[in-house]
């Protein structure tokens, strides 16, 4: 399903636009997620947690998370990325600009230490170029409490020039809806080894490679 979406998006991308709009035929798709299931089963029964959600505010995510009794901090990280690194220059190259990188980190990850009990990053990290992605992960390590989890997705096709962008909406604790919102060039291909290196300060990294070429990663602080 996701693979079909990916193909459709990739075929549609003849131009190197940074953020392309989805075609009219692409509708939100619902898929199950082992990563999401692990994330919520690990915090089940706990109270008064604070979760960071990078998918952008949606009724689905807000309703689901707050109905569990948790506090949600919502931010559309892809939009912030576009604001920080978009414009006339190259999206990836502009991530090397210290001022732009600092702006992005300030807008997305500027919190006191150990503010959160979990983070739903979805696929945002894969669009960050080193060393910015390392700085982002360093900040995540700082703002997450010990033993908390983060969920991140990485597209697993090594040679993909474009990766689809989605708005991720939680359907239930085991499944999510993916609403297409365009596509962008991943900054870097991440395999298991590079992901372990990226999250080396964290206590554990667990992978779920799905049939639709999405690598779901659960990382414990």
């Amino acid at each position: 399903m996701l693979k079909d979406l990916w193909r459709a998006e990739t075929l549609a991308s003849a131009l190197p636009a940074q953020l392309k709009k989805p075609g009219p035929a692409l509708q939100p798709q619902i898929r199950s997620s082992h990563g999401l299931e692990q994330f919520f089963s690990s915090i089940q029964g706990q109270e008064n947690l604070s979760l960071l959600d990078f998918s952008g505010a949606s009724q689905a995510n807000i309703s689901f998370i707050t109905s569990l009794g948790y506090r949600i901090y919502s931010n559309d990280a892809l939009r912030t990325m576009e604001e920080a690194f978009g414009g006339s220059g190259d999206f990836v190259a502009q991530q090397s600009d210290p001022e732009r990188a600092a702006q992005f980190l300030r807008e997305t990850l500027d919190f006191p230490d150990q503010s959160f009990d979990g983070a739903l990053l979805w696929d945002t990290l894969q669009f960050l170029e080193p060393p910015l992605v390392d700085d982002a992960v360093e900040r995540l390590h700082r703002i997450l409490r010990p033993q908390s989890l983060l969920l991140a997705f990485f597209h697993a096709e090594e040679k993909a020039q474009q990766a689809p962008l989605f708005t991720y909406r939680i359907v239930d604790s085991k499944s999510m809806s993916l609403a297409p919102r365009g596509q962008s060039r991943p900054a870097k291909y991440f395999n298991n080894r590079s992901l372990e290196k990226l999250f080396q300060k964290f206590s554990s990294v667990k992978f779920f490679l799905t049939r639709d070429h999405l690598r779901e990663v659960i990382v414990r602080r």
């Binding site: 109270e47 008064n48 947690l49 604070s50 952008g56 505010a57 949606s58 009724q59 689905a60 807000i62 309703s63 689901f64 707050t66 109905s67 569990l68 009794g69 948790y70 506090r71 949600i72 901090y73 919502s74 931010n75 559309d76 939009r79 500027d110 919190f111 006191p112 503010s115 959160f116 909406r169 939680i170 359907v171 239930d172 604790s173 809806s177």
Partner: protein, 152 residues
Amino acid sequence: MSSTPAPSLHPSDSRGPAIIGKSVMIKGQIFSREDLTIDGEIDGSVELHEHRLTVGPNGKLQAGVKAREVVVLGTIHGNVEASDKIDIRKDARLVGDIKTARIVIEDGAYFKGSIDIARPETGKAGGTAPKPVAATAAVNAAAGTPVTASGD
């Protein structure tokens, strides 16, 4: 015995909510004892504890907001406390922390900040642990522990 009715002094008897028009800019504190629509620019604070605040499509608030109900069609930069409900409409933009009993956010709205769902004061018998609800439903659930995360 006079047949002429006494003029009503209650604002809501004779007209709709008070309106701050789109050409108006105010710096300072606004307190209101009636519903208020703001379509202009406010820099300061807005308090309508028992009433509804509507921020119109041209409204731009750089302000903390307290009201019973808040409807946002324009822009708010500031923290919002809505004792009953906040309704963030398509194309609205809200950057700040929200504390409310219920929240409705339309697709297309931009929100950045934290959301605390305030548990109703009345702890009635039969209450159970919160359960996941349908994705499109408004929220009325338990509150999380406040953290010091900033909204901007």
